[in-house]
Amino acid sequence: MNSYQLISLEIATVLLGLGILVADLWIAPAKRRMLGFIAAAGVAVIFAASFSPAFPDFGTAFGKMYVFDGLSLFFKRFFLAAAFIVLLLAIDFADRIAVGISEFYSLILFALAGMMFAASSNDFTLMFAALELITITFYVLTSFQRNKLQSLEAGVKYLILGALSTGFTVFGIALVSGIAGTTNFIELSAKLKDVSGDPVFLVGLLLLTTGLGFKIAAFPFHVWAPDVYQGSPAPVTAFLAVGSKAAGIVLLMRVLFVAVPEVAKSWSGLLAFISGATILYGSLCAIPQRSLKRLLGYSSIANAGFLMLGIAAVNKDGATAVLVYLAGYLFAVLAAFTVISIITRNAESDDISVLAGLSKRSPMLAAALTFSMVSLAGIPPLAGFFGKFLLLKSIIKAGSVSGPHFVLLAVAVIAVVISLYYYFGVIRAIFWSKDVSDHSPIPVPSVMAFTLAVCMAGMFLLGVFPGILVDADAEALNSAVGVFARLR
């Protein structure tokens, strides 16, 4: 198998990004929005191409550094879908960006490429490069609204803490790969027996996990998330919440389940602690929030905790559940951000009070936001429910092996109840706010309407027929390179 065929999706993405960048030179400023459509269409084509039967079989490339397996394919599609929606969001967002709209699109595409590489990385070097491509792109993206102080502050905060996490990751990589003598995950897992007792190795692994914990905003490495989510432009926040987080998750899965499965098993208590603390912290802090984006920031912390839950279970159910959960999360969060983006267009504030009277002003937006909140809360028949169901199942299954997981389970249950409280706070604001000052209908651009329709269709489809997804995910994990197949 030719290496370049395997990375054709990524190549296409990067080329698309470059194309947008270059095309900008010849296109009149007034017509630059069109580039967004081109970018979105391109991503859609790449997404469709990933389903093509002509697509190469699974395999590894670049000296086993890059793996193309079910897991990576799943995540690639995930990222592509997310980027597609984010690009559509960005098209609508274009007029709120002072300069460089086509760069905005191409940066999103480059971040997408980084995520796709991350999904396939089987080597610390590739992982580092991909992770940094994502992170640095997001430094720029978060601070893209340079005329807004909030955006800049968000950028700087993300910068400092992102760089800190890079520092941890890199030092972790140095120690782990140094002790093991290899940077390849599979080779590392083969040598694991010799090195897993080495304290330096374990310290390194801990640092590495810490670094990745930063990326997914897991407790206690979550401090950046609320501010960054609040300050960034809405499409960026959405991409950060979905794409960057999923990239962190897939890398965490690769590192823990492929490179060091035995250690991961023995660490499940620690992972469970992180997961529980993250869930609880995110849920509790979300309660008093007034800013919608900040609320979603905390909710995303809680969701990171739920995702960690599946990892802490260290079993195949958990891994599958993570994938299912992510898919549901994707549509729900993107729908929420789409609505927020539309509503805050004129309001210049994302205080929860802007939702007042939304059910009257625009029933469609109200419905979309309600559904996404309901889905995030994990209530049937929407997509979020099934993910939570599987996560709980996986942790119960893991709990039948070890005790601390029951505590985690209790935390998760309590957190779901708490999360319902604040998600319903949003719904309440939509449907029965007292002080409705503005009754004018909110115009919904057709792009946004399309985006919302896609998200809602996704939420319902995955909620009512999760079978498609679960089968696909289980298959993805079965075909994944490494020890996924051996996970119980």
Binding site: S359, P380, L392, Y421, A474
Partner: protein, 555 residues
């Protein structure tokens, strides 16, 4: 293999979809669709009820469900879930009750004047969810449908609810019910994981667990999870405080549906899942339940006495009634459990009727404070009479279905839990008698108060919105229905839901065997399975083999 149940479930859901597609200003059409859908499903439920064959119980083999329909939904090595519906004696009565209440609730929803589209959509979803919950044989789908029915409750209370405590009530009911549901979900998943048959299908589970029971450790964890999880959904003492508050704040139809139907789903799940599958858990936790149910009966009854608000009174009495069901469950006897199921059906009708009536009173007088009401019997004869009958049924007057149920429960529980029965009898007959009669006196009798001075009965008539009248052919039909329903037969029509509920109560009160004959076979199996592990206890509780004595339950 029969599509009847699937059709029954899908009728309201499809109707909900249709409602979603109709523009919001075609209010009358939306009402018609909702009413038509519930009417059709009522017909289907009656058909199912009639079609259901009462069956005896053969302890050698497990009962079969009737009218089953099974479709593979998720089959993977991670999870295996099928869409599987079917009914047995326990659920068929509840299904019929649900259909009746749903129709009644849709009928009384004329009071809703804003956001009808969303309201009916949610109501239909709720109806579909309730049907689904009672029909599902796969526990995942049971949970799924139950949640589907619960969520609209929160929104409906929030949006169309009333009273100063609306928000507080909404949050309380949301959080309590979610907590209960989550606990139950954890219990169900734990059951799935520990049963080891890779299925949540009740049939499969029963079969597998009757062969190889769960480990006692697993049972002692899962059983309380299910008991308290579902218990919270029902309002088990001390987790009941949401119920009266929530119902007091809820719009009429929601209160009817939730108090009448959805609450029963939790009880149903306890009887369906917890009892037969985990005999050891039953043995361990039933004493606790027995104590708690006294709390329900006495404490909530006592609280009900102190209420000044009619709805709060009804709410608390409703929770107190749940105590009887818990008592029946705690008795673990054939008679007691049969009685519990009968109460579930009866109380569903009763609660719906009570809330329907109180809602009507609220809409005409604008208050439910008992000291502001009075003399309604004279002003609104039909409502007044219905209310008297309703309250009489509530305090367990013979002739109404509740009496049968309570009687059966107490008889069934007497041998096992005599002390508790004393409490229950005291609570059920004396306390409820006190507050019900007090309510009758202050609401219906006496001089008319300021609020009730000028009210009349069924005088509401509204014009057909112009947007619906001018629709050509469709408009003509609409106009016809509107004049038919709003013209000459208007008053009769508005009385229909109350009459229907009252009639059902009396019907099942006078002919309890309609229910018990269907219930007994299934309950016998439940009782049998729940005693399976501890034979000593089983003999102590039911000295004679349970199935043979079923006939005695006819009262």
């Amino acid at each position: 293999m029969s599509l009847l149940l699937t059709t029954l479930i899908s009728v309201p859901l499809i109707a909900a979809l249709i409602v979603a597609l109709i523009p919001g200003n075609f209010r009358f059409i939306i009402r018609l669709v909702a009413l038509g859908a519930t009417l059709v499903s009522l017909g289907l439920a009656v058909a199912a009820f009639v079609q259901f064959q009462p069956q005896g119980f053969d302890p050698a083999k497990l009962a079969t469900f009737q009218m089953q329909h099974k479709v593979a939904w998720i089959t993977s090595d991670v999870i295996n879930i099928n869409y599987h519906v079917g009914v047995d004696g326990i659920s068929i009565g509840l299904l019929l009750m649900a259909a009746i209440v749903a129709f009644a609730a849709t009928s009384v929803s004329w009071e809703i004047k804003t956001g009808e589209k969303t309201f009916y959509l949610l109501l239909l979803l709720m109806t579909g969810g309730a049907f689904g919950a009672f029909c599902s044989l796969d526990l995942f789908f049971f949970y799924f449908f139950n949640e589907l029915a619960l969520v609209p409750t929160f929104i409906m209370i929030g949006v169309w609810g009333r009273g100063p405590q609306k928000n507080y009530a909404t949050y309380q009911i949301t959080l309590y019910l979610t907590l209960g549901a989550m606990l139950a979900l954890v219990g169900l998943i734990a059951l799935y994981v520990s049963a080891g048959v890779d299925s949540l299908d009740i049939v499969t589970l029963k079969e597998a667990l009757s062969k190889k029971a769960l480990s006692s450790g697993a049972q002692s964890v899962i059983f309380p999870l299910l008991l308290f999880g579902f218990g919270i959904l029902v309002g088990l003492f001390p987790f009941h405080s949401w119920a009266p508050l929530g119902y007091a704040a809820a719009p009429t139809a929601t209160a009817m549906m939730h108090a009448g139907v959805l609450k029963k789903a939790g009880l149903y799940a306890i009887i369906r899942v917890a009892l037969p599958l985990m005999p050891e858990g039953v043995a361990k936790w039933m004493p606790v339940l027995a104590v708690l149910c006294v709390g329900n009966i006495i404490y909530c009854g006592w609280v009900a006495m102190r209420q000044k608000d009619l709805n709060m009174l009804i709410g608390n009495s409703s929770v107190a009634h749940m105590g009887f069901v818990f008592l029946g469950i705690a008795s673990e006897s054939l008679i007691g459990l049969t009685g519990a199921v009968v109460i579930m059906v009866a109380h569903g009708l009763l609660a719906a009727l009570s809330y329907g009536l109180s809602g009507y009173v609220y809409n005409t007088t604008g208050t439910l404070k008992m000291d502001e009401l009075g003399g309604l019997l004279r002003k609104m004869p039909f409502i007044g009479v219905a209310m008297v009958m309703c309250f009489m049924a509530g305090c367990g007057l013979p002739g109404f279905a509740n009496f049968n149920g309570e009687m059966l429960v107490m008889v069934g529980a007497w041998k096992v839990l005599p002390n508790i029965v004393v409490f229950a009898a005291w609570g059920g007959l004396v306390i409820s008698g006190i507050y019900m009669l007090r309510a009758i006196r202050s609401v219906l009798h006496g001089p008319a108060q300021a609020r009730t001075e000028k009210v009349g009965e069924f005088v509401i008539k509204e014009p057909l919105p112009a947007s619906e009248g001018g629709l050509g052919f469709l408009g003509a039909i609409t106009a016809f229905f509107h004049s038919a329903l709003g013209g000459g037969v208007w008053q009769l029509w508005r009385k229909l839901p109350y009459a229907l509920l009252l009639a059902s109560l009396i019907l099942f009160g006078c002919f309890p065997s309609l229910l018990t004959s269907k219930i007994k076979g299934s309950i016998a199996e439940v009782v049998n399975l729940s005693h399976k592990v501890s034979p000593a206890k089983a003999t102590a509780v039911a000295p004679t083999p349970a199935p043979l004595n079923v006939a005695d339950t006819r009262n």
